[in-house]
């Protein structure tokens, strides 16, 4: 990973982290209603994928999708406005936390239905294949989704048709409250690739360089017309499944242990060791991102709610206006 990309990945991870910490804070202050699913602790996966995709490449995302959106180029202010249901948000405030779509940047949308976004990535990849472009599509999904029928149907077709698609399973150890090993018959979800004759790789999802290697390889394979790849990124979500999760299904020790594997701290240490950034520069980056997120908060809070008269807009296609 060249220095410029390292810095980009770092800033993206920091933006995701601080964006989500802010979202949680706003939720706790009752300024952000509904719920938010936070990916704190998992930032490396989204940030690295985002760094190696171009705007014209596609992603489909999940209920835990703030990180994917930001890594793919979403602006924190418009994203925060969407979380708060404001008119200035990415979907005019209609989508909220779980449905950010940013088509200009290739984000075809988050999807709250478990596994729901997986086949959409296939469709985008098929479109690229039919149009003869070098675009690739990436689908993010969780360990729970890997047990859904749609996972199986999508990977099967992707491999038969050699679609330029990359399946990224963020194995954060829990499908909501359910430990992955209590509902999954194999230790590594990546082995499922064998059933479709595609490569499958287990990656430390908290290690940006391990992610880099796997993602680059998968993108090359997709662009060379060789077909899909399944990447299983082992990671961990520090927060509950959602903001109201009492977390009775895991121990505090387990959470604390994973916090020692923080992807951001790991990269900060690496950058200091390799003299890419000094401690002062790291602190300055924090300050810069803090400011960005404060502005996003301010933008969202000062944005208007959608006009009730427009409630039926965007439900049906009404022709190009």
């Amino acid at each position: 990973m060249d220095k410029q990309t390292i810095l980009q990945v770092y800033e993206t991870m920091l933006t995701i982290r601080k964006f989500e910490e802010k979202a949680l804070h706003l939720f706790e202050e009752n300024k952000l209603r509904g719920s938010v699913h936070l990916s704190i602790g998992q930032e490396a996966v989204a940030a690295v994928v985002g760094a190696y995709l171009r705007d014209k490449d596609y992603i489909t995302s999940t209920h835990r999708g703030h990180g994917h959106a930001i890594a793919k180029g979403a602006r924190p202010d418009k994203a925060m406005a969407e979380l708060m249901g404001r008119e200035t948000g990415y979907c005019g405030g209609r989508g909220g936390s779980m449905h950010i779509a940013d088509v200009e940047k290739g984000n075809l949308g988050a999807n709250a239905i478990v596994g729901g976004g997986i086949p959409h990535a296939n469709g985008a990849a098929l479109s690229a294949q039919l149009r003869g472009t070098d675009q690739v599509a990436v689908s993010f999904f969780g360990d729970g989704a890997a047990n859904e029928g749609i996972f199986h149907e999508t990977l099967n077709i992707a491999s038969i048709w050699k679609l330029p698609v990359i399946f990224i399973c963020e194995n954060n150890q829990y499908g909501m409250t359910t430990a992955v090993d209590s509902v999954t018959s194999v230790k590594d979800i990546a082995v499922r690739a064998a059933g479709y004759d595609m490569p499958g790789e287990v990656v430390d999802g908290n290690d940006v360089f391990a992610m880099e290697k796997a993602v680059k390889k998968a993108i090359k394979r997709a662009q060379d017309g060789e077909g899909p790849t399944l990447i299983e990124a082992k990671t961990y979500r520090w927060k509950g499944h959602w903001t109201g999760d009492p977390e009775v299904y895991r121990t505090r020790d387990e959470v604390e242990e994973w916090k020692t594997k923080c992807p951001i701290k790991r990269l900060e240490k690496h950058m200091q060791d390799k003299k890419i950034l000094s401690l002062e520069q790291i602190e300055a980056t924090h300050t810069k991102i803090d400011k960005l997120i404060d502005e996003a908060e301010e933008f969202a809070l000062s944005s208007p709610d959608p006009d009730p008269a427009t409630v039926l807009d965007n439900v049906y296609y009404e022709g190009d206006k």
Partner: protein, 365 residues
């Protein structure tokens, strides 16, 4: 045989007999007795008569749509014969031999293909579920039955069937995952007959074998020559032992070929060549087992004509009985889902009854 020792990615199927009915393994001991093999051959012959005659009845307009079994008799008869009375079978649509071996009567089958829902009670047979037409929907049922067996602490197993096309369905994935997580005694037999209606298996999946799907669930998987009765029997017995001992599920891919049409409403000429059909002819399961028995000097093929004559009479008698059965009534359509009909369905039933009454009074044009 140690079923867990096989490599699911191995494209060469487990096989005992070649196309001429000769044993191809160097060290092989016959585990079935001669009389058991003769019995198996007779059953395959019987199933083939049933199949041929069922197609005729359908063509005569005396039966509805029927899925021919021609060429797939070895795997179905073997599957039915390895099960004990207390074991469960969850059918798909094209393994009549297995149902027959489980005790399903021909009369019930004919009734079923004449549209009588009640026939699927399979009253003579123990522990068999109804025939399942929606692709792969039976696999979650089978996993559930397997869980039930485990829950009740029984020593039984459950055996289910699916086609090559069914392996691409989400239900297949969800069911096998849970079967493996819960280590239920489930044996899933994939009848890879090379076509899902008109779609050839190489367009169905990119994996080298369908047995390879087992890798996704961490269960043993094996590809076997499904037209080789003896190989099929060995693999099934090994799988059932494995499952019965509490080791969990097994996936079997039985290679075979649907020599007939998908159903009586299908014309395979539209999607496959005659050359291909001819290629599979010598691999026919009935001929193969017959050759083996003849080589062993324990079967005289000259006796077959008389045997077949007797089979055809028996089959025809049962068909005539089914044909004499009173026509299905309107009640039948509503009868087998709810013990007490919900008001919406009650209203539908009344509406349809009124329609029937009204049309009955209309003069014929």
């Amino acid at each position: 045989m140690d079923i867990a020792a096989y490599d699911p990615l191995n494209e060469t199927p487990y096989q005992i007999l070649d196309a001429q009915g000769k044993v191809i393994l160097d060290h092989w001991e016959q585990s079935l007795s001669d009389s058991e093999l003769i019995e198996a051959f007779k059953n395959m012959l019987f199933v083939r008569q049933f199949d041929t005659m069922a197609i005729s009845y359908q063509r005569q307009g005396r039966m509805y749509t029927y899925p021919p079994n021609l060429g797939q008799e070895a795997l179905s008869v073997a599957s039915g014969s390895v099960l004990q009375k207390t074991d469960w079978m969850v059918p798909s649509v094209r393994e009549m031999g297995a149902w027959y071996m489980k005790g399903v009567s021909l009369k019930e089958l004919f009734l079923y293909y004449r549209g009588h829902e009640i026939a699927q009670r399979f009253e003579q047979a123990n522990r068999i579920m109804p025939i399942t037409v929606p692709i792969a929907s039976q696999i979650p049922h089978a996993a559930g039955v397997g869980y039930g067996i485990k829950f009740h602490g029984e020593k039984a197993v459950v055996l289910t069937f699916i086609g090559d096309g069914g392996t691409s369905e989400g239900d297949f994935h969800e069911a096998l995952n849970f079967a493996a997580v819960w280590k239920v005694p489930l044996i899933t037999v994939i009848q890879n007959n090379h076509y899902a209606i008109s779609l050839p298996v190489h367009k169905q999946t990119a994996s080298k074998t369908l047995a390879a799907k087992s890798l996704s669930y961490g269960m043993p998987g094996i590809r076997v020559d499904g037209n080789d009765y003896i190989a099929m029997h060995e693999v099934l017995s090994g799988s059932i032992d494995y499952a019965r001992q509490g080791n969990g599920p097994v996936l079997i891919e039985a290679l075979t070929y649907r020599r007939g049409a998908h159903t009586t409403s299908d014309d395979p000429k539209k999607y496959r060549t005659q050359e291909e059909e001819q290629e599979w002819e010598p691999k026919d399961p009935v001929n193969r087992l017959r050759s083996f028995l003849v080589h062993k000097n324990i079967w005289n093929p000259d006796e077959e004509a008389e045997l077949i004559e007797g089979y055809r009479k028996e089959i025809d008698t049962q068909f005539l009985e089914a044909e004499q059965y009173p026509p299905h009534s309107l009640d039948d359509v509503f009868a087998y889902m709810f013990s007490e009909l919900p008001p919406e369905l009650e209203a539908q039933k009344q509406e349809y009854q009124d329609y029937l009454n009204a049309t009955a009074q209309e003069p014929q044009k």
